[in-house]
């Protein structure tokens, strides 16, 4: 039965004509409010930090030592300590994580129990609360390995069996290992199977294929993973609480067996245990600002590299 033009019009346009699609608009509205709220919170936090820390935030602040019971001066040793921490951490975690990722992607068979166990461990490690890493570091690295080394090499004299930058870095490397493994794995997976086949079809061994075709393709993943790991390592405090961070040191750490100062730890100490919390407020904010700039920019770089990897995968 043919309908008249009017009837068809009514049928096609009925929703719009009747008025607003209430439910639809409501959902969109709530989502918009939520997004704005999140952005607003972020900007408020950033705004407060920048505002409160602006008077102290300067080149001098970054390059000088704290003075007068930490109520004046700068955060240079904390910056250096954080830097050494992430470097040693990366030296430990990046090769280890890369090799693990290569194993999982290239060597492990589909139903291999070992691979399943490794994957499970990596996922679990990623969600362990960071304070647990700190306790592990204390118990395993300091009390077991450290005192063990002292007994073996120093005749029992206390040298390695106490908190220092080496143990703190190793503890931190355990924390960031999952990040590296996942990033490298992600990059390895973007290498198409056809490239491996081409290499093997030319008479290359599996190892030669990995070295010449797969590994070069994983470099961007290694970079992303390292940057993310460094960003995390620079900001986490719980793992270094009892494994090496110090409240105040007059000099920079000279060897791996020294303790060190740290940006995140510095903020914690000053906001809870300094002699005059009110007076050190600007310093706290300025330190927070430095740490934020550090971690945010590292994350930004990692995001950019990662999006390049994804684009290549297409």
């Amino acid at each position: 039965m043919e309908t008249t033009i009017n009837e068809t019009e009514n049928q096609f346009f009925s929703n719009k004509k009747k008025g607003v699609d209430i439910k639809g608009k409501l959902v969109v509205g709530i989502t918009q409010v939520a997004v704005l709220l999140i952005i607003a919170i972020l900007f408020i936090i950033l705004g407060i930090i920048i505002y409160e820390g602006r008077e102290k935030f300067s080149w001098e602040f970054i390059t000088s030592f704290p003075t007068d019971g930490m109520t004046k001066g700068g955060i240079f040793p904390a910056l250096i300590g954080t830097f050494i921490l992430v470097v040693v951490m990366s030296i430990a975690a990046v090769p280890f994580g890369t090799i693990t990722a290569i194993y999982l992607t290239e060597y492990a068979k589909e139903n291999s129990k070992i691979a399943a166990a490794v994957r499970f461990s990596v996922r679990t490690l990623a969600v362990v609360p960071s304070i647990i890493f700190g306790l592990f570091g204390l118990g395993f690295f300091i009390q077991f390995m450290g005192t063990g080394m002292d007994k073996a090499f120093n005749g029992g004299e206390l040298h390695w069996g106490q908190p220092n930058i080496l143990w703190a870095s190793l503890t931190m490397s355990l924390l960031t290992l999952p990040v590296i493994i996942v990033s490298v794995e992600e990059a390895l997976k973007t290498i198409p199977r056809e490239l491996r086949e081409a290499s093997l079809a030319l008479g290359a061994t599996k190892w030669q294929t990995i070295k010449n075709v797969v590994f070069p393709g994983s470099i961007s993943g290694i970079m992303t993973g390292t940057i993310l790991a460094v960003s995390r390592g620079a900001g986490e405090v719980a793992p270094i609480l009892f494994t090496g961070a110090a409240y105040y040191l007059a000099t920079l750490p000279k060897s791996l067996s020294d303790q060190f100062m740290n940006l995140g730890y510095h903020i914690y100490i000053m906001s809870t245990q300094s002699s005059d919390v009110e007076k050190t407020m600007p310093i706290q904010f300025a330190t927070t600002l430095v740490l934020l700039i550090l971690t945010l920019s590292l994350n930004l770089v990692a995001v950019i590299i990662r999006s390049r990897i994804r684009r290549r995968a297409k």
Partner: protein, 252 residues
Amino acid sequence: MKNIKIEVKDLSLYYGEKKALKEISLEIPRNKVTALIGPSGCGKSTFLRCINRMNDLIPDVKITGQMLVEGIDIYDKNVDVVNIRKKIGMVFQKSNPFPKSIYENIAYGPKINGIKAKNELDEIVETSLRQAAIWDEVKDRLGDSAMGLSGGQQQRLCIARTLAVSPDIILMDEPASALDPISTSKIEELVHELKEQYTIIIVTHNMQQAARTSDYTAFFYLGELIEIGKTNAIFTKPEQKQTEDYITGRFG
């Protein structure tokens, strides 16, 4: 026997429980082009990949029977599969150049084999690119990325890459199916020239291509070898009805 390069005896292949190749027996003549034809899923590509043991890479695959190359069963336990692939090269359906320079792509194989001297490598690169009829097009940009070449050029690059390791046998799995007609005819010309030096086995779903380029043709259907013979004979006077049906287009 001197004219036979590969002898296959009752070769069967299982993907788990499924039998994909059923007791294939045939002979591949030396320095000729043998085409493998058949409808989709008939096993011709699977069979091709058995020749250079690329199916070893797939988990759950079991292969029985014998594949004798110059009298030696390549599936023998003591055989090093890596060496086999140096003698039996493969060109894939979709060209797969490495994301490296043109030069590095060709030099990849020789370098793997331990050739380090630059002048030796230079020579191999040039010879291979000439043999693949692409030297003139790329000689001035050997350092450019191979990914910047057109589809047809990339495929000829892959052929040059295969030639660089001096194989005896070249396997081609539908090498021109992703290419335009002009590139396709270039590849077919290439195949014709290469057979003087190499034994070539080419899988194709394009019957006219098989008729044009090959000396011998083998028709596969549902995992079985139905018929193999001189190309002329297969296409004008096939012995099996199934072959005739396929060639005349009664089923595809």
